[in-house]
């Protein structure tokens, strides 16, 4: 990811307590997931390296939910419950941002592919590259 089309884009939860910024190109690769937790919110995953995401407001307002292997850290706003981003099990060194929570997707070309999270072990390695820092 390089060039002039890369920029920091803001987003947040519904009530405004939690705000973030994510650096993306104008063309974004995203995933939906059919696992037990993602299916309950229709989370649209934009997975980025650690350096391309920052919480700009309300880190102290986040509640963390874990289950099963307790690797993924599912964070949501304590006030409105919105899951704007989290640390995914597939990419614990990076972040997954919920495209539903970007303030503005104008000018973004988001390609959404289904990820078979119900059979996570069979497919997780296809996502690992998404959180690798550019060398």
């Amino acid at each position: 990811m390089s060039g002039a089309d890369v920029s920091w884009r803001p987003g947040g939860c519904h009530c405004g307590d939690v705000r973030f910024e994510v650096m993306t190109a104008e063309t974004v690769e995203a995933q939906t997931c059919n696992c037990s937790v993602c299916a309950k919110t229709g989370f649209i995953h934009v997975i980025v390296p650690d350096s391309r995401f920052r919480i700009t407001k309300g880190a102290e307002r986040l509640t963390t939910y874990t289950f099963n292997t307790h690797t993924a850290r599912h964070t949501f706003c304590s006030t409105c419950g919105v899951k704007a981003f989290y640390r995914p099990r597939s990419n614990p060194d990076g972040w997954s941002i919920n495209a539903r929570c970007l303030d503005d997707t104008a000018g973004l070309e988001i390609t959404v592919e289904p990820f078979d999270g119900r059979n996570w072990e069979l497919h997780a390695d296809t996502l690992a590259h998404l959180s690798q820092e550019a060398s």
Binding site: C15, K40, T41, V82
Partner: protein, 136 residues
């Protein structure tokens, strides 16, 4: 009556929805900022009945905009389960993971132009009579 049951991800908040014909119900995708971020799809049946069971201490009653309904959010897992107002409610079938509606295409709904009175009247006419089983 058919009874459809569901729960949030952590299981602390449960729902039991009694309705005559699930296939006849409209599946709605409200386009407001809250429902879009929650990925919510709702159903209701004024001739049915909804029972919601949750712990008061583990459930957030989120209000916004006109503050006319409580949006019930499990504080354990964050799932938005239902909205309630004056004895009626809508159930978020996505968070409750109710399979009977899994293949249904939702209808986008926009309520932005409603007055508070119109909003209240619509909810009283369309939402489901609800019983809340609230634990401490």
């Amino acid at each position: 009556m058919t009874r459809l049951t569901g729960a949030c991800h952590c299981g602390a908040f449960t729902a039991a929805f009694d309705t005559v014909d699930p296939a006849a119900l409209q599946v709605r995708a409200c386009q407001c900022g809250f429902c879009r971020r929650q990925g919510a799809r709702t159903v209701s049946d004024p001739a049915g009945h909804l029972r919601l069971a949750f712990a008061d201490s583990a459930t957030r009653r989120y209000r916004f905009a006109g503050r006319s309904a409580d949006f019930l959010i499990c504080q354990g897992c964050g799932d938005y389960m239902a909205a309630v107002m004056d004895g009626v409610a809508v159930l978020n079938i996505v968070a409750a993971d109710i399979g009977a509606f899994a293949d249904r295409k939702p209808e986008p709904m926009v309520y932005d132009s409603e007055t508070p009175e119109e909003k209240r009247a619509r909810r009283l006419a369309r939402w489901t009579p609800v019983t809340l089983e609230v634990r401490p």
